[in-house]
């Protein structure tokens, strides 16, 4: 019941006129970001973060999280109308969304996508509302060793669950940690890896990295595909909305499954993109008539969208309670909290009640307002997509440069952002994942501090991480995750050995060894 009261109080905070205004502005900006190729949730929030430094933290986080919801909604528009996923997590939406649009059912597809997004987000928000305080209370008992164990689990899960090669995931992550270590060591005051450059004293700001990696990198990648926008226009009539809603009601099982997949993938750092694919695959496999999929099945739109939103929203649960973001965008939001002097983690629920519950309440409101906003403004967004890329590309570049400059008002940052852009492009092309890099850059200092404090307590013995049952089991889980790819490889070898006969050599991609 206490949660309920807190939530009501939160609604009081979020329902102020000013905050509602920021909510709508954030949503519109978010949809715009989601619609434009090259701007995504993570770098959209990163670019706009400096603008919010002057606001009070509650309004700022409400606006930023609404940008995030907006971006999640926006990705669906381009996928359905133009067959261009505006965001990686809406790739699966194109499979059935675009065929639906081609058959003249664009409005139904869009309604499905928006409604599913709403349902997924709502499910996740309810989960956050009731789980977050419990988790936070539990996490209050964590010492540095437990915190480090949780962080280790986060990072090791990347290696274990990533689609990208394990060694490349590890390399990207370690680069992130290395970049995070640059600058003054907060414990000893010593300078690390600055090589006499005054610009490096502060270290690398993750915002700069995010803007470069996701913004510039994405433009370069988009350019390579030679974009031509040829899409259908759409307007959504209320009658179609009602009709679609009635049809969607019959697919409640798909929704429930997608919500569960999404929440699971969001809380563990799987993220929205794998969640959407997994959910699509599940819906297809469990469907009575799988052959309809790919030709405009309504569940084929509902399943990935629901899961993507559920994942995107529930990614905020570990961020708020443990200070560990479940997605790159959540990582940027977390960075924002730290800039405002709010230390994410369990103490937030004790010390900053207004802030936490205002944010959670704004998740409910933001998604309701978002649903209404996108349903009514679709034609407008479709029109924006008709602006040629030769106009949009330079404007996005300008926005990235402004975003990078405004973080610290530093020219050096702008150049660094450019270098990160090229790095991001190479990473994408060569299948290095970027999420672990960003996460390591954000969490690097915190992880190191926990690591050192835990070791200080134990006089340098690594046994401290296995000392308590909690941190011990987390660490074991982390190690399992870390060596998961290796286990998979061994199992495949073992399976291949006895039947090494007539079967035409299966393994198309040789598995990486690791010494």
């Amino acid at each position: 019941m206490e949660e309920f009261n807190n939530l009501m109080h939160g609604f009081g905070v979020a329902l102020g006129w000013q905050n509602l205004g920021f909510m709508v502005v954030g949503l519109l900006l978010g949809v715009l970001i989601g619609v434009l190729p090259g701007l995504g949730g993570a770098n959209g929030v990163a670019i706009l973060l400096p603008l919010t430094f002057g606001m009070n933290p509650t309004s700022a986080i409400i606006m930023l999280s609404c940008i995030y919801w907006g971006a999640l909604f926006g990705g669906a528009i381009t996928s359905i109308l133009f067959n261009i996923p505006g965001e990686p997590w809406s790739v699966a939406t194109t499979f059935d969304g675009y065929p639906m649009a081609q058959q003249g059912r664009a409005a139904a597809a869009l309604t499905t996508a928006f409604t599913s997004s709403f349902v997924g987000a709502l499910f996740a928000v309810i989960l956050v509302t009731f789980l977050a305080p419990l988790l936070a209370k539990f996490a209050l008992r964590f010492g540095p060793a437990e915190m480090f164990a949780v962080q280790a689990l986060t990072f090791c899960s990347f290696v274990g669950m990533s689609k990208e090669p394990a060694m490349k995931t590890l390399a990207a992550m370690m680069l992130g940690f290395a970049l995070a270590a640059v600058g003054m060591d907060t414990v000893t005051g010593q300078l690390r890896m600055t090589f006499g450059q005054p610009e490096l004293l502060k270290g690398f700001d993750f915002l700069i990295a995010v803007i470069g990696l996701f913004g510039i990198g994405e433009i370069l990648l988009t350019m390579e595909e030679g974009l031509a926008f040829r899409g259908r226009s759409a307007r959504i009539r209320m009658s179609v909305v009602w009709q679609t809603w009635r049809e969607l009601w019959t697919h409640w099982r798909t929704f429930l499954r997608a919500c569960l997949i999404g929440c699971w993938m969001g809380i563990t750092p799987g993220g929205a993109t794998p969640a959407s694919f997994m959910s699509y695959g599940m819906a297809r496999r469990l469907s009575k008539d799988p052959s309809r999929f790919g030709k405009g099945a309504i569940e084929g739109v509902a399943a990935p969208e629901t899961a993507a939103h559920a994942a995107g929203t529930s990614a905020l649960l570990p961020m708020l309670t443990l200070g560990i973001p479940g997605s790159p965008t959540a990582a940027v939001l977390l960075g924002g909290l730290m800039i405002w002097g709010l230390q994410p983690g369990p103490m937030l629920f004790v010390e900053q009640k207004d802030f936490v519950w205002g944010l959670i309440a704004s998740m409910y409101l933001g998604n309701i307002v978002g649903l209404i906003v996108v349903l009514t403004t679709v034609p407008w967004w479709a029109a924006i997509l008709r602006i040629p890329f030769s106009v949009i590309a330079p404007i996005i570049l300008v926005i990235c440069a402004i975003g990078a400059y405004t973080v610290n008002q530093s020219m050096f940052d702008v150049l660094t952002m450019g270098i990160f852009g090229v790095l991001g492009y190479l990473f994408k092309k060569l299948k290095y994942p970027m999420a672990p890099l960003v996460l390591a850059l954000v969490l690097g200092d915190m992880a190191e501090t926990n690591f050192r404090q835990a070791l200080l307590g134990s006089q340098g013995s690594l046994g401290v991480f296995f000392g308590s049952p909690l941190s011990g089991s987390l660490m074991v889980l982390a190690l399992v995750m870390l060596f998961w790819p290796l286990l998979g490889m061994l199992r495949r070898r073992a399976a291949a050995a006895p039947t090494s006969g007539p079967t035409p050599e299966p393994e198309p991609e040789p598995v990486r060894t690791s010494a």
């Binding site: 350019m223 020219m411 190479l426």
Partner: protein, 182 residues
């Protein structure tokens, strides 16, 4: 960064157009990561990577990070070697793609690199105009409208609205003072 000359040795006879195979970029990026790892390790050794009387030294944690980075980048190199043939067949970029990427990369590099002198607003106008004329084939009127309009909007929103000053640029600053004096 790895703007290597196109076609770093892909002698496949049947392939007509020039292209960049995945080998070069894979190795280049792995080498870059190895170099970064070396920097991290060397610097950790400099600040001390051991256990001091008052706890871990500054290089304690980064030292392990450097080792792990070297290990993983090394593993990527080994993997590239093992798949040398297959990667040679892999296309990283074909000629058309390389040209489109360069069409963005080169102006962007110039835009960011010249910002110290030209400033953000003037540079943005030139960048937008270049893209619209060169790749969009727009008329001068519309090009001028957008190329001037966007920086003006930025000026109004950021410099007037949020009081965040954009970099003016050394040259533009000099020009403005001369105009002011003259």
């Amino acid at each position: 960064m790895t703007e290597s000359p196109p076609d770093d040795g892909a002698p496949s006879a049947g392939r007509p157009s020039s292209r960049i195979s995945s080998r070069g970029p894979e190795l280049a990026l792995a080498a870059l990561l190895l170099a970064a790892a070396a920097l991290v390790i060397v610097d950790s050794l400099r600040v001390g990577h051991r256990w001091a009387s008052d706890g871990p030294q500054s290089g304690y944690f980064p030292f392990f990070i450097g080792l792990a980075l070297a290990f993983s980048a090394g593993a990527v190199v080994v993997d590239v070697m093992r798949r040398w043939k297959a990667l040679g067949e892999d296309t990283f970029l074909d000629a058309t793609q390389a040209r489109s990427v360069a069409a963005v990369l080169v102006p962007t590099a110039l835009y960011l690199g010249s910002m110290h002198w030209v400033g953000l607003l003037a540079g943005s106008a030139v960048l937008i105009a270049w893209f619209m004329k060169r790749h969009g084939g727009f008329g001068w009127g519309l090009t001028a409208l957008i190329a001037v309009g966007v920086p003006t909007l930025v000026h109004l929103v950021f410099e007037r609205g949020f009081l965040v000053l954009m970099p003016r640029g050394v040259w533009v600053e000099a020009l403005l003072t001369r105009l002011g004096a003259g």
